[in-house]
Amino acid sequence: MIFCGIDIGSNTSKAVLLKNNHIISTALISGISNPSASAEKVFSAVLEKRDLKRHDISCVCATGYGRYEIIIADINKSEISCHGAGAFFSNSTIRTIIDIGGQDCKIICVDERGFVDDFVMNDKCAAGTGRSLEIMAQTLGLSVSELGYIAMKSSKSLPVSNKCSIFMELDVMQHLLNGEKTAQIARGITITTARRIAQLAGKLELRNNICISGGVSKNPAVCRDIQDILKLKLTKLNHDPQLMGAIGAAIFARNKEIVS
């Protein structure tokens, strides 16, 4: 039997097919119109890669902010449970997941079964999320990936507020007006993002091993700064960290089928 997990995030949509406990196909698309259309598109993409049809799939589980609007899904699960299950599937030594997505960030602790036993989520503003990094990169005239690589080149950083995205942007603009070096501003942004995550992490007892998932996991500077500030070593996942939500959803699709 083949199971599908679909993760409709705020910036990208991801889908994963699971068969005999192995990932057999993955798809990632960006440029979201509406949750249902994005789900259709990413579902078709993941099936096409293995020349499969919809009726070949036994169960579809949706996750992500658009999970309730996806008609093709049989069940839905929160992205917190899915990132936990996905990361545990990818590396069973993982007990803490730092998930930095487009519109929120979460820290998730899982037990020895990969089930969530504690979590915290940002509840006040966008600072420390992928969207915030995008805005800062735009202000610097860079893409998000460029921001990460440029920040890696600088050992010095300029102060950037971590109170809210608007204040962050104001600080970045002020530094630009002062003629400061882009790399130092970029480093200031990634350090601020990492500090925001550290604030959230303070609310939970982090358990080893710790990994990072979500789109921001691909930003090397943020990952480095998180390790430095939280004084920890991130453990590598065996799959694309951006796919953890979709992998977890596929696992819940499989579990549902087993239970029923």
């Binding site: 902010y65 309730y68 699960k77 929160s78 992205e79 917190i80 449970s81 519109q103 929120d104 037990d111 079964r113 089930f115 969530v116 036993d117 504690d118 979590f119 989520m121 509840d123 006040k124």
Partner: protein, 366 residues
């Protein structure tokens, strides 16, 4: 159930169900409705239901104030409370107390307003003070309307309101069995606006309908605690994801109806004792331990799986209370979720994710 539709209509258009010039507004649970009713008026609890935002209210309040009084003021500025003959405000907390100042400063067309001072503690001295304050309120009402609030009139109102509270207790016992917590909240909002005799009639009808109603789907059993929680849409989110709110510890819930007023004592003393000594809200500073004990007892009695602690942003009362509760629930190994939000503050998908993940976590722990 058809009767629930009637309650919904009351919430949408309360003034349609009230006699013109015969309604007096009040804030919070510590204003004895009995005194307003004994004067021949319907006490109408002020709420932010159907408020349109805070833009008007924010001219007078800062955005660093609680969203409840900001929304109530906004509603007042929109003219939604133009049907009231007067309002008894109260020093529930500093934000709500400030509502009285801003209401007057903004010159909202209310014939009269009054600030009832209610002590912030449960002691013999504060009880005496509360009795004095209730007497001052009686004097105020008597002088405005040139009438006498006789002991008999107050006793009659106490009897009627006791009947209403008993009926609400009865209806509450159907929660998680035949009635959702969302519908119960709707009943609470409607019956704190309706004239008490009509509220009792409708509650009687509801109980008959509930007895014949089918059982609702069994889900996680949740208790909600907090202060000014009154959003039907928010309760729908809590329940629709997979839970039944089987009990609460909020102002528009058990804190309102879990109160008995003695018919034996002199009525003003009976009211003061009943109101001050009944289950308190976090504005009463020396009662935290007892409040948390009450919730712990309710968790056992109603076989609660999880507790949701609702804290409105900038609520200084619930900031301390929420933290203490969290420590206590952690010790007891009672799963809890502390939700900090603004009243009608949006962010539905984020809140839904947190609640759903919490339920999934609770199920994992079982």
């Amino acid at each position: 159930m058809p009767i629930l539709e009637e309650f919904r209509k009351v919430i949408l258009n309360p003034s349609e169900f009230l006699s013109p010039g015969k309604s007096i507004g009040y804030m919070c649970n510590y204003v004895p409705e009995e005194l307003i009713h004994a004067a021949g008026f319907t006490p109408v609890r002020l709420n932010a239901v159907e408020s349109e935002g805070t833009s008007r209210g924010d001219m007078y309040f800062s955005t660093g104030n609680c969203s409840f009084p900001r929304r109530v003021l906004d509603k007042g500025l929109s003219g939604a409370y133009g049907f009231l003959d007067g309002i008894v405000f109260m020093n529930g907390c500093d934000h709500n107390r400030r509502l009285y100042d801003n209401w007057n400063y903004a010159q909202i067309q209310t014939p009269w307003t009054y600030l009832l001072f209610v002590p912030h503690s449960k002691t013999d001295a504060s009880l005496n003070q509360y009795i004095n304050e209730l007497q001052k309120l009686i004097n105020h009402i008597e002088s405005i309307y040139k009438l006498k609030l006789s002991e008999q009139k107050i006793r009659d109102s106490i009897k009627l309101y006791q009947r209403k509270r008993n009926l609400l207790r009865n209806v509450s016992s159907f929660r998680g069995i035949k009635l959702s917590g969302t519908d119960f909240l709707m009943v609470m909002i409607a019956t704190t606006v309706l004239p008490p005799d009509i509220a009792c009639e409708k509650l009687d009808e509801l109980i008959v309908e509930l007895k014949n109603a089918p059982q609702i789907e069994k889900n996680l059993r949740v208790l909600v605690t907090g202060n000014c929680v009154e959003e039907i849409e928010h309760f729908e989110i809590i329940e629709n994801i997979g839970a039944n709110i089987v009990y609460d510890n909020i102002c528009l819930g058990s804190r309102y109806f879990d109160r008995d007023i003695s018919m034996e004592e002199e009525p003003v003393i009976a009211l003061a004792e009943g109101y001050l000594r009944s289950p308190s809200c976090p504005r009463i500073m020396n009662d935290t331990e007892k409040r948390i004990e009450l919730i712990k007892e309710a968790v056992k009695k109603y076989q609660v799986d999880a507790v949701i602690i609702e804290k409105l942003e900038f609520c200084s009362m619930m900031t301390g209370e929420g933290w203490i509760m969290s420590q206590e629930f952690r010790k007891e190994e009672t799963p809890f979720l502390l939700l900090t939000r603004e009243l009608y503050g949006g962010g539905k998908s984020q809140i839904r994710t947190r609640i759903q993940a919490f339920y999934e976590k609770v199920k994992n722990l079982k």
